[in-house]
């Protein structure tokens, strides 16, 4: 198995990829063309493409997963061994390193070049920007290369991402850096939580994975609501901002019919009405869905007293069926240090209750589905709030703690009448 670095590409069979070549045609940029070109610099990429070609031919996969950890870390490396290492020796160890990107996926070219240089130096250098986990992915390191690349990355200010039963790399939208709709600082929140909980991100100690994704408003550009265990979504208290002049201009330009069809009737809570050329909004019933603001984005804006709604529990279908996120904190300010302390205090309590009582491989949404939201709230010390439910319950079978008799566990004090019937009555009827 021992294999010297210099061996890379010495027995390169050359490219033989007739099926993949078909993916070079067409107008969309082709990863096949890019990687074929790159294989001239990194011969192991030719082996990668040849193995992929065999996958295409046989509709079969040739990677086996394994575990490899960088000193001090319990995750961040997605280790892969090729089943065809005899044929493609450079793929015998061919790992992915997950790297925490700058929040919001913003880069200076200096940082991005640095990333590419390091990945090229120690491995195949293939980058994926970004994976659905929210990481920058670098593909194609052998064991030695993985360790060397990790040291080099960390010496250059990068850090490894999360994998396994850990907090995963956070993901957030562009937020206040370039969007007028963002109701809080998504990038700051993302970096703060990443660094505050870096222990949990690097050393898996949960029942299973935990993802936090952060969006500045209900449009949810970070795909948090259906793609994370804990979506943090921007919102506001009080009235939204209306520029009545611009509303009138918009109605003038587009016509009343357009406004009725695209704004008034689309409001999920029917809280907008049209009085002449004035929009009247019943702010008490606005649920901050962002639709009217999206349509009339110059005339309407989120309100000024901004914060976040925190939800919990989304994951895709394995194993109990899809779970969607549901509200756990209707509104939280997220500006001062104290606000952030409130947030981490909440996360600490939820993690503790989940990990003390969850089962192996049980995501927090599955855990809540099993024990019930009421039990979960009590366990975490969170007050129930009607904004957490769509409706109250329909099942009447309830263990009311206040109504249960105090001495229920002792002997029964009241004999049900049916037990008192005398046997004679039956005898006399015969």
């Amino acid at each position: 198995m021992a294999k010297k670095k210099d061996d890379k590409g010495t027995n390169n069979p050359g490219l033989n990829t007739p099926l993949l070549d078909e993916l070079e045609a067409g107008p969309w940029p082709s990863f096949v063309s890019d990687l074929k070109q790159w294989s001239k610099t990194k011969p192991q990429v030719a082996q990668l493409l040849n193995q992929l070609e065999e996958s295409y031919e046989n509709r079969w996969n040739y990677w086996t997963g394994t575990v490899l950890n960088v000193s001090g870390y319990g995750g961040g490396v997605i280790a892969r061994l090729s089943d065809k290492a005899d044929k493609y020796p450079d793929l015998a160890e061919f790992h992915t390193i997950r790297i925490i990107p700058p929040p919001g996926f913003v880069y200076s070219t200096e940082r991005l070049r640095n990333l590419a240089d390091i990945c090229e130096k120690h491995g195949a250098g293939i980058l994926q920007l970004h994976g659905l986990t929210g990481d920058a992915l670098a593909l194609g390191f052998d064991n030695e290369g993985t360790f060397a690349a990790a040291e080099d990355l960390m010496a250059n200010g990068w850090d490894l991402g999360g994998s396994g039963a850990a907090l995963r790399s956070l993901q957030c939208c562009v937020g206040q850096a370039r969007c007028e709709m963002a109701c809080f600082d998504t990038m700051k929140t993302s970096r703060f939580l990443t660094n505050h909980y870096i222990d949990f991100l690097h050393r898996p100690e949960f029942m299973y994975k935990f993802k936090i994704k952060i969006s500045g408003c209900a449009n949810d550009c970070a795909n948090a609501m259906i793609g994370s265990d804990m979506p943090i979504i921007g919102t506001w208290r009080g009235p939204m901002q209306i520029d009545h002049e611009k509303v009138a201009e918009y109605i003038e330009e587009k016509g009343v019919e357009h406004v009725i069809d695209n704004v008034i009737t689309r409001c999920p809570t029917h809280c907008i009405s049209l009085k002449g050329k004035e929009l009247v909004i019943d702010d008490e019933n606005c649920v901050r869905c962002m639709h009217c603001i999206n349509v009339m984005h110059k005339a309407l804006k989120p309100g000024k007293d901004q914060g976040v709604t925190i939800c919990l529990g989304a994951k895709r279908t394995l194993k109990i069926g899809d779970t969607m996120s549901s509200v756990i904190v209707p509104f939280l300010k997220l500006e001062t240090d104290e606000d952030f302390e409130n947030l981490t205090d909440l996360i600490d309590r939820m993690w503790e209750f989940w990990n003390d009582n969850g089962m192996d491989h049980e995501r927090i949404g599955e855990f809540i589905a099993r024990v019930g939201l009421g039990t979960f709230l009590e366990g975490c010390g969170i007050e129930p709030d009607p904004r957490m439910v769509q409706s109250t319950r329909t099942s009447p079978y309830i263990n009311f703690e206040e109504l249960a008799p105090g001495d229920f566990e002792g002997e029964q004090t009241q004999q049900p009448k049916v037990w008192n019937r005398e046997p004679e009555s039956r005898e006399s009827s015969s």
Partner: protein, 357 residues
């Protein structure tokens, strides 16, 4: 390895403030409005009056350092050395000089070969998973299917011709890392896992038994070896055990098929988030270009464009016209397999006399 000199650990997320375009750093939190100049090009205006133009280009996600450096070269020339990636793997070039927009777009097209678009009511880049390129569980490829489909849909990426945006995703196993989308392509398996009883020592058997959602896995002994058995009638071919134990192979190149799901939505706008639902099943897993999948996606898109009202996402359109009309308009067959049989099944039945006759 020698532990003499290790680089600093646990540094966390890189400092984003050093990665912001100067106009973003200056106007952070002070943006006032935006406008789409044309598909793929937006302008943002700040309180200060500063304008920041952003050009969005579709990337293939998997890129060589050569391509990354070409992207950087362009960002150095036009964007003060800064750039951003979107959630759906587009590259965003931001610049302050309006006169540079045309040259920038030209550079993106000629030097990178990336199309420009993916904004507003278009089809954005397809969110996809790792596939045969580097995953240990996939039954199909992702990057190839995406490339083939985007070749077909590139006009829809470069233009904004739909009632609202359309997000597409692909997943290469039943774990569905691609998640809910307006249109999602998923692999499906059709029989219970094949157990390699000689290699079960690499798996933690109690975990294998516990992970089965339908309790179809039982402990067993074969030829004196501790192993498990699967109750065929209970198994729903989800592959949860395969992820836990590689010796329980769920994939089958001869029988695995693809299916298309519609109506997933994460945004809280209007109707709120929704799960995607089954539209078409039993499509062949047909590399290298999966033409049957592209055709079916195109059929759904055409019907949506034809029938959807402005701002309606795919799921909201179907919700309004009803599933009967969806199957009429697309020509797909409605079968008994489209009817839910999971734990929440009854909530998906039509529990009223509201019927389009």
């Amino acid at each position: 390895m020698s532990a003499t000199k290790l680089a600093p650990r646990d540094q966390g997320a890189p400092d984003y403030t050093a990665c912001l375009h100067p106009a973003m750093a200056k106007n952070y939190g002070k943006w006032v409005e935006h406008e789409r100049i044309r598909p793929g090009v937006l302008v943002y205006t700040a309180e200060s009056g500063d304008k920041l133009y952003t050009v969005r280009a579709g990337s293939p996600r998997t890129m060589s350092p050569t391509t990354i450096r070409k992207i950087c070269d362009i960002a150095d020339r036009f964007c003060d050395g800064f750039l951003r990636f979107s959630m759906r793997t587009n590259v965003e070039f931001s610049l302050t000089r309006q006169e540079d927009i045309e040259p920038l777009m030209e550079a993106i097209k000629t030097e990178l070969g990336f199309p420009i678009g993916g904004t507003g009511a278009s089809i954005s880049n397809i969110a996809h998973t790792q596939g045969w390129l580097h995953c240990n569980l996939p039954a199909t490829d992702a990057a190839g299917a995406v490339k083939a489909m985007m070749d077909d849909l590139i006009d829809e990426f470069e233009n904004e011709n739909f009632p609202n945006r359309v997000k597409i995703s692909t997943s290469c196993c039943q774990i569905n890392c691609g998640r809910h989308s307006d249109i999602a392509i998923i692999v499906q398996h059709h029989h219970a896992p094949r157990i390699n009883h000689n290699n079960m020592q690499i798996c933690e058997l109690p975990k294998v038994v516990a992970i089965c959602p339908v309790a179809a896995i039982r402990p067993s002994v074969v030829d004196g070896n501790q192993t498990v058995e699967v109750v065929d009638e209970k198994c729903m071919y989800c592959g949860a055990c395969h992820g836990q134990c590689p010796s329980m192979e769920i994939r089958d190149a001869d029988t695995d098929t693809l299916s298309i799901w519609v109506g997933g939505k994460g945004a809280n706008t209007r109707s709120g988030p929704s799960l995607m639902k089954l539209a078409v099943w039993g499509l062949p897993n047909n590399p290298p270009r999966w033409p049957e999948v592209s055709d079916a996606v195109r059929t759904i898109l055409d019907a949506y464009r034809e029938g959807g009202k402005d701002w309606e996402r795919v799921g909201e359109w179907i919700e309004r016209i009803g599933w009967q009309r969806f199957f009429e308009k697309t020509g797909f067959a409605f079968t008994k397999y489209h009817i839910e049989d999971g734990p929440n099944a009854m909530w998906t039945y039509n529990r009223s006399t509201h019927v389009r006759i």
